[in-house]
Point group: C2
Chain length 142, copies 2
């Protein structure tokens, strides 16, 4: 999660909402990503999607069997869908996102009948640091 927070800071430095994600397998980092839809001109370039795509490319498989995902913010609906398709084993996330999240908030996708693979979920990991990064970012833009 320390690495994911570092990725989040990288996003913030680019003027992007500071969210970071890391994919880990067998205790090793496979891929990392930070949120960058504006700089990449890509509406799907959330931290999770960037990291999942990179991990799948590195492993040469669309299914990330045995991989865990660390992300600083509760995944949104799009990312929850991608996490399911990627067959992520465990999801660790930091801050909750009542306005846009889809794990404990919103559509709670992993509990839906149309979700065909759900990871084990652990929320609130280093939550205050992740939330503080986001608060600082939005306060600076006002």
């Amino acid at each position: 999660m320390a690495l994911a927070l570092e990725e989040a800071r990288r996003a913030g430095a680019l003027g992007e909402v500071p969210v970071g994600a890391v994919v880990v397998k067998d205790g090793k980092v496979v891929a990392a990503g930070h949120n960058r839809p504006r700089t990449a001109h890509d509406p799907t370039a959330h931290a999770e999607i960037v990291a999942l795509r990179e991990a799948a490319a590195v492993l040469g498989d669309e299914r990330l069997a045995g991989c865990d995902l660390y992300v600083t913010l509760e995944p949104c609906t799009m990312c929850a869908g991608a996490i399911s398709f990627a067959r992520i084993r465990r999801l660790y996330y930091g801050a909750s996102d009542p306005k846009g999240g889809a794990v404990e908030s919103g559509v709670r996708f992993f509990d839906a009948p149309t979700c065909h693979h759900a990871p084990e979920v652990y929320g609130g990991i280093r939550e205050s640091e992740a939330a503080e990064l986001l608060r600082g970012f939005f306060a600076g833009r006002r």
Copy 2:
């Protein structure tokens, strides 16, 4: 939708589930994509995501203002999220997908309070052709 069906056939020829998508702006095709998670080693490479990412790259903007999306199958949860982030104006789709869809099925994301932009939705466009492609594909794999 004829072009989207052509893209779907392209996916089927690659051994991928036959789904195709096209982004249109001002009556012109901006981008097209077919489903290819296996061949691309990318769990996010659904037809919609491929077409949305390409359109955003072409237009140099993460937001596809005034763009419409044609897709042969009801979008899944991941793709519904991406469609919302991309600010798609109108969504036209072919076959329904009760098992994996997220528009009229499943989490019905565009009706959720955590959905901050919903397109106008038109389902059932050339539905029988889109469904027949899918049926033929799955029958051939049994």
